[in-house]
């Protein structure tokens, strides 16, 4: 980040430009009695001091040397071209276009993003993006309520718990009831959401069933059966997907999902402490008027040239006020651009290779731990790039490994009391054989 100080002359020019005499004049409309006399903040620092202070704070970060943590966020290779594209100041410094049609470049990039998401998901229309996968899922649930005019939601217990927390927050305002469909977590269980369990919960009061593919435990859900169970009662299927997996797994469009929501982070966005990430949403054209947020459409100008517009804006809050399809119309344009650049750079073949390598390495992780007698698979269903393993005395060993800079996955027992001693380990194409060896050695040493 650049250090950009203002000189007194800079400040004078800015004040003269807006036509006021002093900074205090900018606050003249606020009665003096409610204006703070002073702020309790430290004095200004010169550039070297700022850098030293930030470096000191950064030393508190614990960056693991080896990590098998996934659980919704995944470390993938980001081709340099992604940084080159999003680093261009035309993109990195621009805010949401308020006179959108003059920003044809921004609109084109969003249109291409939407087109890629449609291709990836097999759906007919995608939004310009949302804050993250959790908010996209919550918006999808509200959209299902509007489409069906129903006020209850069924959600699989195998949907990422963080997504379910955000969903609960979103539903608390409008009073939408959430009912959990239990996943099969029994000893020797599949780890899946059985369609029969969904059918037992669903009735014609339910707007949708939300299930995740691969689910939070990494296993491959029977999405077509779950869609059929939802549709049998007039409910929609909201499919929460992991975008890289779509290079290998069936796209939601072909198992009759009605709305698709996803965390787009695996597509060229680095892991960060909670974000910024990007939410993806796609649906069928028949539902487009109930889609939240922005949509860019392609059109032609008066001279027949290709152009782009923000379309169907009548759903949005600046026109529809409190009745808007959503009151969060902001999108994550820069992160969506990163995803666009990523998908364009790797292409369909590259994405398939990323997905294949991730699944292969996940199998190496499972085989190494099982082969070393250190643990065993907790679920019977086939898995994608993440595997739940039961490791005796997992809590003690987890702490020991983290202290050594090795994160042996996500401790499932913290969220699922039924999953004592169970770790969820993720692999990607960046997981090396040496990483796996280190994990197994370190785990073995804690015996």
């Amino acid at each position: 980040m650049a250090y950009s100080p203002h000189t007194d002359a800079d400040r004078e020019r800015m004040l003269a430009t807006v036509g006021v005499g002093s900074v205090d004049d900018l606050f003249a409309d606020i009665p003096a009695a409610v204006r703070p006399a002073r702020f309790e903040i430290p004095p200004p620092l010169v550039e070297q001091q700022v850098r030293a202070e930030l470096a000191r704070l950064a030393e508190h970060n614990r960056v693991p040397q080896v990590s098998f943590l996934g659980a919704g966020a995944y470390r993938h290779l980001i081709p340099s071209v992604v940084w080159e594209v999003i680093g261009r100041s035309e993109f990195s410094t621009s805010y949401t276009p308020y006179q959108p049609e003059v920003s044809q470049g921004t609109l084109q990039s969003i249109y291409e993003f939407q087109s890629l998401i449609c291709e990836l998901t097999g759906m007919e229309v995608a939004t310009a993006s949302h804050y993250d996968g959790a908010t996209a899922t919550a918006e999808a649930a509200l959209m299902a309520c509007r489409l069906t005019r129903r006020q209850r939601i069924a959600v699989s217990g195998a949907v990422n718990p963080q997504i379910r927390h955000v969903l609960a927050t979103y539903c608390s305002g409008p009073g939408i009831e959430i009912v959990e469909v239990p996943a099969d977590l029994a000893e020797g269980g599949s780890g899946l959401t059985p369609a029969e369990a969904a059918a037992r919960v669903l009735d014609d009061d339910f707007a949708c069933l939300i299930s995740q593919q691969p689910n939070f435990f990494g296993v491959i859900e029977p999405m077509a059966e779950l869609a059929a169970a939802a549709h049998a009662t007039g409910a929609l299927l909201v499919a929460v997907v992991e975008p890289v997996s779509l290079a290998l797994l069936e796209p939601p469009g072909s198992y009759e999902a009605d709305i698709v929501a996803a965390e787009g982070q695996p597509l060229g966005i680095p892991l960060a402490y909670g974000g910024p990430y990007v939410g993806l949403m796609a649906a069928r054209m028949s539902a487009v008027r109930q889609m939240p947020g922005r949509l860019v459409g392609g059109t032609h100008d008066a001279e027949g040239r290709r152009g782009y517009v923000l379309t169907l804006q009548a759903r949005e809050q600046h026109i529809r006020r409190e009745k808007a399809a959503s009151n969060i119309c902001t999108n994550q344009a820069l992160c969506a651009l990163a995803a666009t650049a990523y998908l364009s750079a790797v292409g369909p073949e590259g994405l398939r290779e990323v997905a294949e390598l991730s699944t292969v390495q996940a199998r190496h992780v499972a085989a190494a731990i099982e082969g070393g007698g250190l643990g065993e698979r907790r679920f019977t269903a086939p898995y994608f790039s993440e595997v739940a393993l039961r490791v005796p005395e997992a809590a003690r060993r987890y702490a020991a490994l983290v202290a050594q800079g090795i994160v042996p996955g996500y401790p499932l027992w913290r969220v699922y009391p039924d999953l004592a001693d169970t770790l969820l380990l993720a692999a990607t194409e960046l997981t090396s054989d040496a990483d796996i060896e280190r994990l197994v050695d370190a785990l073995g040493a804690t015996r």
């Binding site: 005019r149 008027r289 009548a314 759903r315 026109i319 529809r320 009745k323």
Partner: protein, 126 residues
């Protein structure tokens, strides 16, 4: 001053009602259609829905605005104008005819007393 069909009842929200026995046909007036501009989409109620007089029951979207539809009378929806899904422009071209929105079974005909006749509505929109 514009003139309006004299066999209809009119609401302050610019909807009209045609009563035929216990059946009421409802739509939006030519005045409302003109104010909205070209209508591009109509969100119709569901057959079987119970409408409350003066409560919202649908949405009409034009090139410049989105407005709620307010039921001019209470009743149960028996039929909706499916043709509006593909040809919403009927609202502009023939608001009192082909642009009808829904047919209801009247549940409370006393609600008609709350509405205006053609002359009073012409006065309102003058």
């Amino acid at each position: 001053m514009a003139s309006y069909p004299t066999d209809l009842h009119y609401s302050k929200d610019h909807e009209w009602v045609r009563v035929d026995g216990s059946t009421a046909t409802i739509g939006i007036t030519s005045y409302a259609a003109q104010e909205l501009g070209d209508v591009v989409f109509v969100e119709l109620p569901e057959v079987g829905a119970a409408l409350q007089q003066f409560a919202t029951f649908g949405v009409v979207e034009s090139v410049k605005a989105v407005s709620d539809l307010f039921a001019p009378v209470s009743g149960e929806v028996t039929q909706v104008n499916e043709a509006l899904r593909d040809t919403p422009e009927h609202i502009n071209t023939d608001p009192f005819g082909a642009g009808w929105v829904a047919k209801l079974t009247l549940t409370d005909s006393s609600g008609l007393d709350e509405l205006m006749d053609a002359d009073a509505y012409a006065e309102l929109t003058a």
